[in-house]
């Protein structure tokens, strides 16, 4: 604009008029998506905030405003905190464990499959059979989360018809009578194993493609300098993949904050036993089906701020200069 300001008056008017027309033209393309975003994303958010401060039970049209009462009860009354507190705890644990485990495993696999093998003719290669492993590890990604849940439910089944129990029986391990997902002290670990299993393949492929963009000369130079494979990984691969890892971390954080579908399908009492695998999404569902829709909305609001804080925090903590290749 400051450039055009120096030009004489009439052409400027003409120019800005055509520019304005162009802006309208561009904006007209945005009307539909912006409207959809307003209606389908922002207005439900706003409504959830509104409902969270009422006594709406899901079916009463004449609900009343109750202020912050629901939020207070969610933290202080056992009747409600029995759902929320374990869920907050479990989501926090999952938020740390799941991304760490997935990224570590995915990086390890990607490294092994791309540059972990012997170098042939000066080129880095993956371990033998890496093409096969790539397909194998990626496979869970083509299954829907419902199928994964049902599959693992059959694996974890508590009696001798469970796959895990049957496998252990071959090695003479006696049946664990409290089961796997029906043991409140184990159930969260069991759910996280499934989350990690179903995510590793995708991030392995993601990191593989990021690794492919690292120029081979850097690896060759490192090798000539006598760098070991472990050194190569930590000193070259990892720093150059930082951006991809940060993106993966955010996506995995979102997965860890959800977890609802797996918990819903796999665990007894859908979040149990005795709230041992309760997650925020499940709490919302349970409140809705118990006729506590306003409480469910309040949990949604809490989750909204929880997520927002985490996103802001992770963006701030991981901000740094990009390395130009």
């Amino acid at each position: 604009m400051s450039d055009t300001a120096k030009v004489s008056a009439p052409p400027r008017r003409r120019k800005s008029a055509s520019k304005r027309r162009a802006n309208w033209f561009v904006a007209s393309f945005l009307v539909l998506p912006v409207a959809l975003y307003l209606i389908l994303v922002l207005s439900p958010f706003a409504q959830a905030f509104q409902f969270s401060m009422t006594n709406w039970n899901g079916t009463n049209p004449d609900y009343k405003f109750v202020g912050l009462e629901n939020f207070k009860k969610l933290f202080t009354s056992d009747l409600y905190s029995v759902y929320l507190i374990p869920a907050l705890k479990h989501n926090a644990i999952m938020l740390i464990v799941v991304p760490l485990a997935v990224i570590a495993l995915a990086l390890f696999f990607a490294f092994m499959l791309n540059v972990g093998g012997k170098s042939r003719g000066g080129r880095m290669r993956g371990v033998g059979g890496s093409a096969f492993y790539k397909i194998l590890f990626f496979f869970p990604q083509v299954l829907s989360v419902v199928m994964i849940g049902i599959l693992w439910q059959a694996i974890y089944r508590s009696d001798e018809y469970g796959l895990l129990n049957a496998l252990l029986a071959i090695f003479g391990v006696p049946l664990k009578s409290s089961g796997w997902v029906s043991d409140p002290s184990l159930v969260l670990v069991m759910v996280m194993i499934v989350m990690v299993w179903s995510s590793v393949g995708f991030y392995m492929v993601y990191f593989s493609s990021a690794m492919a963009s690292i120029p081979a000369e850097i690896y060759e130079a490192a090798m000539i300098d006598g760098s070991s494979r472990v050194q190569t990984f930590f000193k070259i691969t990892l720093p150059l993949l930082f951006d991809s890892i940060r993106t993966a971390w955010i996506y995995l954080g979102i997965i860890a904050l959800d977890g609802f579908a797996l918990v819903f399908i796999m665990t007894p009492q859908q979040g149990g036993p005795d709230h041992g695998s309760e997650v925020m999404g499940g709490v919302m569902y349970n409140f809705f089906s118990n006729g506590q829709a306003a409480m469910a909305c309040a949990v949604g609001v809490i989750l909204f701020f929880f997520t927002l804080t985490l996103m802001a925090l992770s963006m701030r903590l991981t901000r740094r200069e990009n390395v130009e290749l």
Binding site: N57, T59, Y83, S158, D159, L175, S177, S182, P273, D274
Partner: protein
């Protein structure tokens, strides 16, 4: 009336349309019907259906041209019975178009329709995804079905519908003084076993808990697990807990829990019942892995004769008819949980009328809805239900259409001695959030041996006291 209700516009509209319909038919609203409506409607400003009980053919003055929409829960009973009953309505009102839906997720599909005041005319609000009856009743979203109770029965116009029902049905469906929910299916909670397995091994049905434990020892020695249950749904254990407690200390033990009486959970009979249940676990009488089995898995293990006893409702035979058909010699039998020593009320049984049918207050054809319920309670209606579901209805002493199967015979046999001491249990339905969040999971923990009976009682009593202290939770009461 304690319930706070706001004036309901669509209720006004339907009153007007009722008046209009009556005028069109050239009838004045009869005084008797008007009074009946007032008596049923209570003192709030919602109107009920005006009935003319001198007209046994059509007491609710149904407009035969109006369409009728029926939504039923398609669960253990299926929805074939409803289609058959709808045909009966259609035969009576051939011009009425009937819209039928058999669904499982009542809350997701019908909840929004209550919200927007466009509910169906008849709703079987049941299943895991049901909308709490108490919530809808408290909010005045169910029509008062008192005119139905006072209408003449189809089978015998000299009798009121009220007088044909089993004891407790009216009381159980009454919320805030209004009869809102007709629990139609009759469910008996029992302990099931295989008659042929018992015969083969020379075991006999235990009559007391001591005999039960002695028999369990024999069963275990024979290499079969004495008990299994579904650990995934701990509420199946309510039967064992409350029947043992009601038999030991009287039906008031359960009533006091329902009514949130002080220290109701601390009654000694509750503790004795819990200890008896835990002893099954500690003595090794429970099938390994039962904690993690869902209802179908545990029932399958039971029918495979991996376990001798299983506590389930009387829908078991219908639910597992495929598995039972594969083993025609199974001879399904049931008994009520045998009483503890020193029981004062040894015939107590949890007989629960279930499948709650209601006519929403905002329904377009409430008169038709009530007539439909009256038809359901008639001989033909009952026959349609029993023939398709092998289950009894809440009409006293009637079992038209019941197929003659081992399970059906067993239920009828068990009812002969115990029906007089039947008790209901309502806490789980009235205070669903607390029951699902605290009582059910903690009971599962007790049965798994991870929580002591004393700890359970403390937690349950605290929950009951919390409900009582929370003014936002509407309280119910039964006699």
């Amino acid at each position: 009336m304690a319930t706070e209700t706001t004036p309901n516009e669509s209720g006004e509209v339907s009153r007007r349309s009722v008046l209009k319909t009556s005028a069109a038919l050239g009838m004045a609203v009869p005084a008797a019907g008007f009074l009946a409506a007032c008596a049923g409607g209570g003192s709030d400003d919602k109107d009920g259906v005006a009935a003319d009980n001198t007209n046994a053919e059509n007491p609710f003055k149904v407009d035969g041209k109006k369409p009728l929409e029926v939504v039923v829960f398609k669960g253990g009973y299926g929805d074939d019975y409803a289609i058959a009953q709808e045909a009966l309505y259609k035969a009576k009102f051939p011009e009425s178009a009937i819209k039928h839906a058999g669904i499982t997720d009542i809350r997701a599909e019908i909840g929004p329709r209550f919200q927007s005041k466009t509910p169906p005319d008849v709703l079987d609000n049941s299943g895991a995804q049901q909308i709490n009856h108490a919530d809808l009743a408290n909010n005045g979203q169910y029509a008062d079905l008192t005119p139905l109770l006072d209408a003449p029965s189809i089978d015998d116009p000299a009798k009121k519908v009220r007088d044909t029902l089993l004891g407790g049905v009216v009381e159980l469906g009454t919320y805030n003084g209004k009869f809102n929910v007709l629990n139609y299916g009759f469910t008996l909670y029992a302990i099931w076993y295989s008659g042929s397995l018992f015969k083969e091994k020379g075991w006999t049905e235990p009559k007391t808990w001591t005999e039960m434990l002695a028999l369990c020892e024999k069963i275990k020695a024979a290499g079969i697990a004495p008990w299994t249950y579904t650990g995934v749904h701990p509420y199946y254990l309510f039967d064992v807990l409350f029947t043992l407690a009601a038999r030991h200390g009287g039906n008031d033990v359960v009533k006091n829990i329902d009514n949130l009486e002080a220290n109701a959970w601390k009654h000694p009979s509750i503790k004795l019942a819990l200890e008896a249940m835990v002893s099954l676990k500690t003595k090794g009488y429970i099938l390994d892995g039962s904690e993690g089995l869902d209802h179908r898995q545990s029932q399958a293990r039971f029918i495979k004769k991996d376990a001798a006893f299983i506590p389930v409702g009387s829908w078991l035979e219908n639910e597992e008819k495929d598995l039972l058909a594969a083993d025609p010699g199974f001879d399904l039998k049931c008994m009520i949980v045998p009483a503890l020593d020193g029981s004062t009320n040894p015939n107590a049984v949890w007989a629960a009328p279930g499948e709650g049918f209601a006519v929403p207050q905002d329904a377009k054809n409430r008169e038709g809805g009530m007539e439909y319920l009256r038809i359901m309670l008639s001989a033909k209606g009952r026959e349609a239900f029993s023939a398709k579901t092998s289950s009894l209805t809440v009409v006293a002493g009637k079992s038209e259409g019941m197929p003659d199967t081992p399970g059906v015979r067993a239920v009828q046999e068990a009812l002969k001695t115990t029906a007089s001491a039947a008790y209901p249990f309502k806490f789980d339905e009235w205070y669903a959030n607390a029951s699902k969040g605290i009582i059910r999971p903690k009971l599962g923990e007790v049965m798994a041996g991870r929580l002591s009976p004393d700890e359970f009682i403390t937690i349950a009593q605290k929950a009951a006291d919390d409900i009582k202290a929370d003014s936002s939770i509407q309280k119910q009461h039964r006699n």
